[in-house]
């Protein structure tokens, strides 16, 4: 199908007719009886996987099934932070694969995802933080990932609103800065991938919940999925369902090392541009950046207990706001406009699982926990490769389900002492 191209010229031309001539950016597809492959989950990771399957592997007879509306889950609920300064070689390769793709994603998709490499600064408040962050800086340098150590005065120079006085409960003792890190417009990532995949013939089917997975009685491989919109046959099914992954895979009798927790975020009323970068503080738990609309985007923590409620307790947010108000006292009088929660699937080693399952033809991309948005293009790219070739891309080869049995954990949680 033909696709309207976005450009400055197109904007002027459509503007002359009052912008009333834009067409919908993807079709409202109805499910066909069968496909060559099905992706379950219409977030950034799933839509991206469909796009790369069509674009790079020639699989255009495929569908994305989404229980709700596309980008309505964690893709539309995160704090849009992008970085790749992870400790271990495997993680650095995976996340930096994504950061490299972010740089050209708007051009590739012909859709402005508003990737803004404005720098991500992670604050150190304790001696342990300093040691860990410096270790990260050196490990990242060995892996070709930019990350640098800043003294408090340098941190304040990079982010002028930052309070580096020593009279607060957890003074800033330094910071690690990844200049290539930044933010992107989360909704645009889902919409851009959906539009580009649709243009290649991918059916994007919303309001279609998977209620069963059929397996071949002899070979045990996947043959079809049952959905709220009928049974759809496919020899390959890739599940990219974030917090609901355990539920979907239990339909095929597969257990996973996942627990789903609510993770919250909130935004302030919009204010004039004041905040030039992203600041993260894992020790006192605050994540903050400013959107192009002017809202301060603030990330809080997960609740203590597993839940599928897509909300969370208020005390989790107030805990984060306490930290924000110490680091940025000028924000104390700001009002918060909205808060919301998403359900994140957390693995024991805080690293994702991207690969095959014990069921032939069934693939899974899950366990991104609290930090999956940053990886969207890279994750989708290697997941598509895995589905198309029935073997992992070298980058996601270490991120198997079998690593929990074989003892090859990629333990970013303990070693990194960071939230994601």
């Amino acid at each position: 199908m033909s696709r309207q191209s976005f450009s400055g010229w197109a904007l002027i031309k459509r503007g002359l007719s009052g912008h009333r001539s834009w067409e919908p950016q993807w079709r409202k597809a109805a499910p066909k009886p069968s496909y060559d492959a099905i992706i379950v989950g219409g977030g950034g990771h799933g839509l991206g996987a469909a796009y790369y399957l069509a674009k790079e592997h020639g699989m255009t007879n495929i569908a994305v099934l989404e229980k709700g509306w596309i980008g309505g889950g964690n893709t539309g609920r995160n704090t849009t932070i992008i970085r790749s300064n992870y400790l271990f070689n495997e993680s650095a390769a995976l996340y930096d694969h994504a950061v490299k793709m972010w740089g050209s994603l708007s051009q590739v998709l012909n859709y402005n995802v508003m990737y803004s490499p404005r720098g991500v600064m992670m604050l150190a408040h304790t001696v342990h933080d300093i040691q860990v962050f410096k270790r990260h800086v050196h490990a990242n340098r060995c892996n070709g990932v930019d990350n640098e150590w800043l003294e408090p005065a340098e941190a304040k120079e990079f982010c002028p609103p930052l309070n580096i006085e020593d009279n607060i409960r957890y003074p800033v003792l330094g910071a690690a800065l990844q200049r290539r890190g930044g933010t992107a417009r989360h909704d645009a990532v889902a919409w851009g991938y959906a539009r580009a995949a649709d243009a290649l013939g991918v059916d994007i089917i919303e309001n279609c919940e998977v209620t069963g997975i059929r397996k071949d009685p002899v070979g045990g491989g996947v043959t079809a999925v049952e959905t709220t919109r009928g049974t759809i046959r496919a020899p390959k099914v890739g599940v990219s369902a974030a917090g609901s992954t355990s539920v979907v895979l239990s339909l095929a009798g597969v257990r996973l090392p996942l627990e789903s927790y609510p993770l919250q975020a909130l935004v302030s009323e919009p204010i004039k541009p004041i905040f030039p970068c992203v600041v993260m503080s894992n020790t006192i738990h605050a994540y903050i950046s400013q959107s192009d609309k002017g809202e301060l985007v603030i990330g809080a923590g997960t609740d203590a207990y597993t839940s599928y409620t897509q909300r969370g307790a208020l005390h989790v947010n107030t805990h984060t706001l306490d930290a924000i108000c110490e680091l940025f006292p000028q924000f104390r009088r700001l009002r918060m406009l909205r808060n919301w929660g998403g359900v994140v699937d957390v693995t024991p080693d805080r690293s994702p699982i991207i690969g095959k399952t014990p069921v032939p033809g069934l693939y899974v991309n899950c366990g991104w926990g609290t930090g999956g948005f940053k990886a969207t293009p890279g994750s989708a790219h290697v997941f598509a490769w895995t589905i198309a070739r029935d073997e992992p891309h070298p980058i996601n080869a270490p991120f198997t389900l079998a690593r929990f049995r074989d003892g090859y954990l990629i333990d970013e949680a303990a070693a990194a002492a960071v939230a994601h």
Binding site: S246, L256, P257, Y305, Y308, P348, F404
Partner: protein
């Protein structure tokens, strides 16, 4: 914030408690007999139930004792709490209400 019924202290705010994950996962009686997959299941695999979930809690800023709870993970409603070592209550019998 949730109110949680500690079987020893009664109803207390969530902040006094620590979550302990899925309940009724007993350490294998003869660990030396387990193969790698059985160890994996014991250590890492979890039901991650969407619905009524049996889970451990500890009243860490109260009596300090562990207990178990049935909670609906789609609403966060606590259906019943019970002492460690007791079997998982039959919801049909107790009518799904916090005692």
């Amino acid at each position: 914030m949730l109110l949680i019924h500690c079987p020893f202290c009664g109803e207390r705010p969530e902040l006094e408690f620590a979550y302990g994950g899925q309940a009724h996962i007993a350490r294998p009686a003869r660990p030396q007999d387990l193969d790698d997959q059985a160890w994996t299941d014991f250590l890492y695999m979890r039901d991650n139930t969407k619905g009524v979930h049996a889970e451990r809690w500890r009243h860490s800023h109260g009596c300090g004792r562990f207990f178990n709870a049935l909670r609906d993970t789609t609403t966060d409603h606590f259906l019943v709490t019970y002492k460690t070592g007791e079997p998982r209550p039959n919801l049909a019998k107790i009518g799904g209400r916090t005692p």
